[in-house]
Amino acid sequence: MADPLTIAIPNGRLLKPLMDYFSIKGIQIKFGSRKLSAVDSSGRLEFYKVKNSDLPTYVHHRITGLGIAGDDTLIESGHSFVRLSTLPIGKTSLCIAAPKDSPAVEEHGASVVNVATSYVRLTREWFHRRGIPVKIIRLGGSVELAPRLGLAEYITDLVETGGTLKANGLEILKKLADLRVRLIANPAYFKLHYREIGEFTDILTRGKR
């Protein structure tokens, strides 16, 4: 039998919906207690649970051939991957937010807009494309605190319900991008295994027959 396809999956908020989705599509995986790898019941797919932000690195270096991650993680990594399919789970948006009654960034009076974010590439690209001068302050998390503590007037962050923003006195000013969860491949791995990958992509799209 050929070597199984190797797939990195994010060990975070996406894990539960992803495992449920696999189950619906007939892919049965059981991770042992504290185990970070598992082979599916068919023996053709080998999964590795990795930290979300490390996932692109594993696929880029071809430690695993395939991976599943959100656009935010993939774009921020700066690496290029083959996009195989979009999964109907984990939809989210990158939004710009600020304290209530703040002006839109386009109408901000100062020469440079200060923005705190964990999504530097996505944010920088959005501002640059519109020609709005921006100073980006990179934060690892709890970005909602930045305006209250005086670090930046604006933040960009992932928004699902908007509850956390509201609880911290912020409101959404604009949606910058819709972000989806993708199945990706290392380009060289895809070229060598495109048939098997095609079968896996079909199962993810249509389910096992």
């Binding site: 880029h60 270096h61 700066g78 083959v82 996009r83 195989l84 380009p187 070229k191």
Partner: protein, 358 residues
């Protein structure tokens, strides 16, 4: 690039195989400069290539660049004066360009390759592709595939209204949705059919069977620029048919999303992928318009291989061990004579070891 002992031996061992191979095909060595004026190449570099090149001012303030691609530097030499055609040349040298933010050592690559200048058409394409195919076989890699594409076909399918750089980016990541949108936004008809055509990936045999039907199946004959599409497809069918007959076939694939990693390609393109490598280990193609940028216009095709990526994967390279014996004898003169005799038979002998009696 720093290599020591066994690793350096493996590098040299494989390099000798490569150079012997090129020489046996009648190719002569060339050396290119490591530094040149950036302005000479600026218009031939894509935005990304420009960003990834190492540039710095000389003492007079003129901008210089380090050799980021041997073909480009070689094209200048050949374009200025290449003598009687066709010319067959090979090279083996370092190139320096940005690769990884975290690892500066990865910015120095070792490329070895060959260029055939002054021979256009199918015979020129096949000479380059078969020379590469035979060399990959001699390297004894575990599992590898040669993916053949066509820049001529891509250009014909895109027409004049789409920038090739954007289409190539989308093809590289095989983003069907965005590619189809690119065609639609440019007002080209049959956007889905154009996308499907460029996404073809299969064995050479499949392509030879499948391609003739493409013209009618995708309604190409009704589209703008259909003559150029049909001409490029016909050429690729001829190439695939010949390769199918000359090779074991399982290593050859037609992959229309392979359009070349350099902006100067104009005909066939090739990329080689091997089990264990995270990127292509070799790439090349036809670039009939490049030399003309430097003066003398001449058809040209070639390929280059990323030697440092291939070395750990090649069983020919890893199988070679640097074994050395000691000379026998109690005096230096005796050991010298013993070593001289044994070296004639191909043995590797050192004169002075801890145990000089052998």
């Amino acid at each position: 690039m720093s290599l020591f002992f066994e690793e350096a031996h493996r590098h040299r061992h494989l390099l000798r195989l490569v150079e012997d191979h090129f020489i046996s095909w009648g190719y002569l060595p060339v050396l290119t400069p490591v530094i040149d004026y950036f302005e000479t190449y600026r218009l031939l570099l894509s935005h990304k290539q420009e960003e990834h090149s190492y540039r710095f001012p000389d003492r007079g303030g003129k901008l210089l660049m380090l050799r980021s691609d041997v073909t480009l530097f070689l094209a200048k030499q050949m374009g200025l004066s290449c003598g009687p055609l066709p010319r067959r040349v090979y090279y083996a040298d370092s190139v320096i360009r940005h690769q990884e933010e975290e690892d500066i050592a990865s910015d120095e690559l070792f490329q070895s390759g060959a260029e055939l200048v002054g021979l256009s058409g199918l015979d020129g394409d096949l000479e380059i592709l078969m020379m590469l195919y035979d060399l990959l076989g001699a390297m004894n890699l575990r599992d590898w595939r040669m993916h053949i594409g066509s820049r001529a076909l891509l250009d014909a399918v895109l027409g004049a209204s789409i920038k090739p750089a954007r289409a190539r980016e989308l093809l590289e990541i095989r983003d069907r949705e965005e590619l189809e949108k690119l065609f639609s936004d440019a007002g080209l008809n049959s956007p889905r059919q154009r996308t499907e055509l460029l996404m073809f990936l299969g064995e050479a045999e499949d392509f030879v069977e499948y391609a003739p039907g493409l013209v009618t199946r995708f309604g190409i004959s009704k589209n703008e620029g259909s003559d150029a599409v049909i001409k490029a497809l016909d050429h690729l069918i001829s190439l695939a048919t010949n390769l199918k007959e000359l090779t074991s076939n399982k290593n050859i694939r037609v992959d229309l999303s392979v359009t070349g990693d350099q902006s100067y390609y104009s005909g066939f393109t090739v990329m080689v992928f091997a089990e264990g490598a995270n990127t292509a280990i070799a790439s090349g193609g036809r670039y009939d318009n490049l030399l003309g940028s430097f003066g003398n216009s001449a058809a040209a095709a070639g390929f280059s291989m990323m030697m440092r990526k291939i070395e750990p994967l090649s069983r020919y390279a890893t199988g070679s061990k640097m074994s050395v014996s000691g000379a026998r004898g109690t005096t230096f003169a005796a050991r010298y004579r013993d070593a001289r005799e044994r070296r004639i038979n191909g043995e590797r002998i050192v004169l002075n070891t801890d145990k000089t009696s052998g």
